[in-house]
């Protein structure tokens, strides 16, 4: 295969394979399924974003004047439900994992292509239920569905949303199962475990969590629905149950879910940073072990969400200690990304700006997590805006930045076109600035004691809230920019070659966009990943 032929725009590829809607909706090609996911989660991202915009609009002034308290409750619930289950969890694994895992390991497709398409349909079905609940009047329990409010007192569409989340969970499980089997069984000859890109390690660890944690949420929510319908159960204290049981079960899923959101983001940073620093990733094996460490310790820290719930003090101490332990592999990763930059030949292209933004914001989010993992401090900070700021630094500053960085980095591979570089950098900086303006004031508000989930607040919090709402406006512009110029570049962007970044991964060894079965000849791997040479 010569270079000229490889770069030819007229080479048959997965996008030109069929142009009808039917050819997309019945495809078994992992790359097309990834695109289906991308379209669906983008729609949900802007739906969740619209709810957030209304909330920040309400909070621009102390009085509750834009929406009623009930509407506000529904807004933050739908924002949480949509962003967590319909955007963040499928974002990197289902879009980029689907697209890249087979390409990066030199496979023709995922192990179970039809199951892959099925999981997209399951996702859409779950989405329909959730949107139906919205149209029917929304739900006001918060995304956490705490009992006994959700089982006994709430008059909103709890069951409809639970059904939606339950169904979507199975799409996560099947995607995770597919990635696990694919990584185990379909690696190209010579691609040993310790030659795998860290993106693969990250998605593999994420898939283990998807497989083992999601079913727990599914059953827990089923029990909530049963208790709500039949008025017998195990959560409501009035019925002889224990609401703490619900919290334990819920967070047994929902804390690992945070790692479902951030581990793939770490995988993305580990691909982008070596490429634009022209250096092999520092401490490759430790990076892989750190991923597995975070995934496994992440299963044992859920109780730090319950420090003030009345759980046993000894349980609190153990959960606090274990939560501090997660910081160790996380810190190893941050140190290693930084060390990768040392003496690197750094280019500040748009993906690199996102990746560096990810590292910085993840650092702040992670360190403030230690504040919350400290038993005594948590008593002061629980249920304040400090918590909101902390997890948005991880989920938005971390995961969404990395997702956007990944979309830009692999855009030439996905679309065969380059995005406009200047616009890319402007958007990355706008998002970084807007994000910090939105969420840094919330740390201060939380520290001062402003509680979360209220639609009005005392006037002394006005200035910081105003900053935060202004930041949200900047952030909204920042998120709309890529939507516009990436759509534009689909038709008018400069054509990309097979490997515009000079990157080392297997996915860059095939044409852009890749042919339907990825590689003309099965690649043989003889080298370590990140085999970059410094620019002289």
């Amino acid at each position: 295969m010569d270079q000229k032929n490889r770069d030819s725009p007229y080479l048959p590829n997965y996008l030109t394979e069929g142009f009808t809607l039917r050819s997309w909706l019945t495809t078994n090609d992992h790359k097309r399924i990834a695109i289906l996911y991308m379209v669906a989660i983008t729609a949900f991202f802007f739906l969740g974003g619209a709810a957030a915009t209304l909330m920040r609009l309400e909070l621009a002034t102390p009085a509750g004047d834009v929406v009623s308290a009930e509407t506000y409750n529904k807004l933050f619930t739908i924002h949480g439900v949509v962003m967590v289950w319909f955007f963040l969890i499928p974002s990197i694994p289902a879009v980029l994992g689907n697209f890249l895992v087979p390409l990066m390991i030199g496979a023709r497709d995922m192990a179970f292509p039809r199951l892959n398409l099925t999981s997209w349909y399951i996702y859409v079905l779950g989405g329909i239920f959730t949107v139906a609940a919205l149209i029917a009047g929304g739900v006001d329990t918060g995304w956490t569905f705490y009992t006994p409010y959700s089982t006994t007192f709430s008059n909103s569409n709890v069951i409809l949303v639970i059904v939606g989340v339950f169904i979507t969970g199975f799409s996560s499980i099947l995607t995770g199962l597919n990635i696990i089997v694919t990584v185990h069984k379909l690696r190209a000859p010579g691609l040993t475990w310790f030659r795998l890109p860290l993106f693969i390690w990250a998605n593999y660890a994420t898939s283990l969590i998807l497989l083992l944690a999601t079913p727990v949420l599914a059953m827990t929510l089923t029990l909530v629905a049963l208790e709500r319908l039949l008025h017998i159960g195990i959560f409501d204290p009035a019925l002889g149950g224990d609401p703490l049981l619900f919290q334990h079960l819920f967070w047994f899923y929902s804390h690992p879910a945070v790692y479902i959101m951030v581990l793939p983001a770490m995988g993305v940073a580990s691909e982008i940073i070596p490429c634009f620093a022209r250096r092999p990733v520092f401490g490759y094996r430790f990076m892989a072990y750190a991923i597995l460490g975070i995934a496994s310790i992440g299963f044992l820290v859920w109780g730090h969400h319950m420090f003030v719930s009345g759980q046993s003090m000894y349980a609190g101490m153990v959960f606090s200690m274990l939560s501090f332990m997660v910081a160790i592999p996380s810190a190893i990763k941050v140190f290693n990304w930084t060390a990768t930059l040392y003496k690197g030949s750094i280019t500040f292209s748009a993906p690199m700006l996102y990746a560096l933004g990810f590292v910085g914001l993840f650092l702040i989010g992670g360190l403030t997590g230690l504040f919350l993992a400290s038993l005594a401090l948590d008593v002061h900070l629980t249920d304040t805006y400090f918590v909101i700021a902390h997890f948005h630094y991880i989920m938005v500053g971390g995961s969404v930045m990395a997702y956007l960085g990944a979309i830009h980095f692999w855009w030439p591979k996905i679309s065969g076109r380059m995005y406009p570089e200047i616009m890319g950098r402007i958007a990355a900086l706008t998002i970084f600035f807007g994000f910090n303006l939105t969420f840094f004031p919330q740390y201060l508000l939380g520290w001062l004691g402003m509680p979360r989930r209220y639609h009005e607040y005392p006037p002394e919090f006005t200035l910081l809230n105003l900053f935060s709402s202004a930041g949200a406006a900047v952030l909204a512009v920042g998120y709309l920019l890529p939507l516009c110029y990436l759509s534009w570049s689909l038709f008018f962007g400069r054509r990309a070659g097979a490997n515009p970044w000079g990157a080392t991964g297997l996915e860059w060894q095939t044409s852009s966009p890749p042919p339907p079965h990825n590689f003309e000849h099965e690649p043989h791997v003889t080298r370590m990943p990140y085999d970059y040479q410094p620019v002289r």
Partner: protein, 195 residues
């Protein structure tokens, strides 16, 4: 136009087996909150659970356990027959029959206990809630297993030493469902019965 992602039948076989084991791991965690809820409730309201357990129909439950264990044997024999390219339909039919008898006995038990369960309160109400939820979920899994057995029966002529993966995967699933019952039986029927 689907091209197999696998290079060989062996690779495909190994991938299917790993996929099934991964699915069973998910299944185990799916039952998890119910088992955890059971442990929690039994510690909190142990006496009520013992009382509830004494109302179970021990003879029917024990008979059902024996029936389900036998169905595991016939399922294993079906897998072996498929591996050796021998006829599988008899074993599949026998497995399905035993599964159906189990479901029939289980359904009659549910009906007999319904009155008592509806009037129970406090800890005993939780006992019955968990009993119906857990044996109900188990029965749903068994019903799905019966559907898969029917599908295998229709396509039975396809299986041979070279291609019998569907039978083998169904076997794994069937044994998993049986093992769940092995835990449910003592949890609901045998609490301090001989004290």
């Amino acid at each position: 136009m689907t091209t197999s992602p696998f290079d060989s039948a062996l690779e495909r076989r190994e991938a299917s087996l790993l996929g099934m084991w991964a699915f069973l791991a998910t299944e185990l965690m799916f039952f998890g909150p119910l088992f955890f809820g059971y442990v929690h409730a039994r510690i909190a309201q142990g006496d009520a659970f013992v009382a509830g357990s004494h109302h179970m129909h021990i003879v029917l439950g024990t008979l059902n356990t024996a029936i389900l264990m036998t169905s595991s044997l016939t399922m294993a024999l079906a897998v072996r027959a498929a591996r050796d390219t021998r006829p599988v339909r008899t074993w599949l039919a026998l497995t399905a029959l035993l599964g159906l008898v189990f479901l029939g006995i289980k359904a009659s038990e549910w009906l007999m206990e319904l009155g008592e369960a509806a009037n129970a309160s406090g800890g005993e109400a939780r006992f019955y809630f968990l009993y119906y939820a857990m044996t109900g979920l188990h029965a749903v899994h068994l019903t799905i297993g019966l559907g898969v057995l029917a599908w295998l029966w229709v396509h039975a002529r396809r299986f041979s030493a070279a291609y019998h993966m569907p039978v083998e995967l169904t076997g794994l699933y069937w044994h998993f469902v049986d093992i769940v019952w092995v835990f449910l039986y003592p949890m609901f029927y045998l609490l301090e019965r001989y004290r």
